[in-house]
Amino acid sequence: MIELHDVWRQYHMGDETINALAGIDLDIDKGEFVSITGPSGSGKSTLLNIIGGLDSPTKGSVVVDGQDLSKASDRELSIYRNKKAGFVFQTFNLQPTYTALENVALPLVFARVPLKKRNEIARDALATVELTERMGHTPGELSGGERQRAAIARALVNDPKILLADEPTGNLDSRTSNLIVELLIRLSHERGITLLLVTHDMRIAENANRVVHMLDGRISGAPDKKVAT
């Protein structure tokens, strides 16, 4: 499903070259739940962004569902992000002036789904995260947990093949965090979606089929921990 081969991501700061990713090789199967852990600056988010088509590798190949993202054009990447990848962010990244329904429907706007149809689909997506009652509210009127549920509904609204969650519980209390993680795991499992979850929290990471630990832009030498689901 996801194949990364010798993936590098370099940034230049003056004369200095920083290797955010330094030769990553990683294969992830369809429907697999993989946690990515590691200290700050280890390259977790960069790896997630590259798999999600938000960033491009300096060198190496990234193939997702048969599509080589390293060679894709802006248009191809935008379609990929719209149809195949769903993002959940730590800071929710909901449009502040949109209602929950409008936020969830946003990917469908770029997929050119007609207004009536997309509202219907977005309503169903909100129902799966039990947010139907709050669909007319803007993010400012929602709690942290509700915002993240709306963000999950938005990530899933276009039936993606992979779900990329970058510290999705970082801004939530522990009780809400557990609920959100459970929701992510349940929905991706039910729909056969590959779930990649970046987290600092080992308790959350241990829920995954596999834990990928990163350090200094590399996957660290320790064997991946397999956890039964």
């Binding site: 938000l54 802006d74 935008s78 992000r81 962010f89 990244n93 002036t97 770029f110 007609p114």
Partner: protein
């Protein structure tokens, strides 16, 4: 993203920052309003002058002169602004005319599509007065074929035909000069037209003669405020005295200028071409109107510059507003990219937003200008244009409305290109991290 969604998004974003959107649109309103109002005034004045010219020179009438250069219209020919025009060896002054030959007149008369040919009679009157009054007034005496007289609207009395004798039609403005309340009061009154011989123009000893006419009609008000119209028959007689040439307009001294009526205005250019083929000069209504059009084109262009400058300044406002919007919405742009917006979509979003500012500004600007034009027309009809009820000084043809709205939209779209490009190039990761 569909066009409907792009428009919905543009309107929604403009609503979010109401004051800023209003001020940006207002700048476009001023530009679009200025352009449309000033051009509408130019069009109104041009239409008015055109109507006046058409009344004396209908589109199916040509003036023919014995000198092929007689009607060299243009700024150069008029000795006004253009470069002096070079004359060839056999070319005479454009202002010197000799009588046409009878053969030339016959050639013109026998041309295909020519309906009738009349001498163009040059006459002049020193003054006019009512017979029972000593008050004399200036007058512009015109001896016209009956089909041209019938182009004028009368408010009282009747028209003249070519063979009428002793009847005249006076300009409406004479009613006030003569102290008459009703146009009908003028009809039947005796008018004395005093004619001095043309040598008086250069100060030579001259004779004057009084001609008695009966007022048979009063014309509607036009710019020709001192015109007194008489028939061709009377015109010939007065012209002979005026020019001190008893044989003028006979086979001995044929006219130097002709008025040629063609069957339909569509043949005017064709007949003019044929006449020029006989080495004669020909002037059509279109030639005169073309010159008027050129002059008004320049006036309108100069007036439009003010509005265009305002639109140019407004476009800077649009650029500023959209760049501000990019800073405010950086994170939103990042989110849109994360969920599937391409660079092209983001570019379109901002371009359309600029276009909507231009479109709204254009529509509101033209609407306000239309309203002001309506007020100007109303005020002018009750004041300085009281006598010209049918004349609107501000005119808004459909092409002006559509053109100004299209222009302001286009300028706004162009202004939006740079901000839109900048927004589209935002790195989604940087945009998502933007605080």
């Amino acid at each position: 993203m569909t066009i409907a969604d792009l428009l919905r998004s543009a309107f929604s974003n403009l609503r979010r920052r109401k004051l800023r959107s209003f001020l940006t649109i207002f700048a476009v309103v001023i530009g679009a309003g200025l352009v449309s109002l000033l051009v509408s005034l130019g069009i109104g004045a041009q239409e008015f002058l055109t109507a006046q010219i058409r009344a004396t020179m209908p589109p199916d009438v040509l003036i023919v002169g014995s000198n092929p250069n007689a009607f060299q219209i243009g700024f150069g020919g008029m000795g006004f602004g253009g470069s002096p025009q070079e004359l060839s060896e056999d070319e005479s002054s454009p202002y010197s005319l000799s009588p046409l030959t009878l053969e030339e007149i016959d050639s013109v008369r026998n041309l295909e599509h020519v309906e009738r040919v009349d001498p163009y009679i040059m006459v002049s009157a020193d003054s006019v007065r009512l017979q029972n009054s000593e008050k004399r007034f200036r007058a512009q005496l015109s001896a016209l074929p009956d089909y041209i007289i019938r182009n004028k609207e009368l408010v009282a009395g009747q028209y003249l035909d070519d063979y009428s004798q002793g009847g005249c039609i006076i300009a409406n403005q004479y009613l006030e000069s003569f102290g008459l309340e009703q146009a009908e009061d003028a009809v039947g009154q005796e008018l004395v037209i005093q004619v001095g011989q043309m040598t008086s123009f250069i100060g030579l000893p001259t004779k004057t003669k009084d001609y008695n006419f009966e007022i048979v009609g009063v014309a509607e008000k036009t710019l020709s405020s001192t015109q007194v119209m008489i028939s061709l028959t009377d015109g010939k007689e007065i012209a002979r005295f005026w020019a001190n040439a008893p044989d003028l307009y006979t086979d001995e001294i044929p006219p130097a200028l002709l008025q040629v009526k063609v069957e339909d205005s569509q043949y005017a250019e064709q007949v003019a071409g044929a006449i020029e083929g006989y080495e004669l000069g020909a002037l059509t209504s279109a030639d005169v109107l073309g010159l008027v059009g050129n002059i008004f084109g320049i006036i309108q262009a100069v007036l439009s510059v003010f509005g265009l400058i305002a639109l140019g300044v407004a476009s800077l406002g649009i650029i500023n507003t959209l760049i501000m919007a990019i800073y405010e919405r950086t994170r939103e742009i990042g989110v849109m990219k994360a969920v599937g917006a391409s660079q092209r979509t983001i570019r379109l979003l901002f371009t359309i937003e600029g276009g909507v500012i231009g479109l709204l500004g254009g529509i509101i600007g033209v609407a306000i200008a239309y309203g002001l034009g309506f007020i100007i027309n109303h005020v002018s009809h009750t004041t300085f244009l009281e006598d010209f009820e049918t004349f609107d000084i501000s005119l808004f043809p459909w092409w002006l409305v559509a053109g100004v709205i299209a222009l302001s939209t286009l300028i706004a779209l162009l202004a939006a290109l740079y901000p839109a490009h900048r927004a589209s190039k935002l790195n989604p990761i940087d945009a998502l991290r933007y605080e």
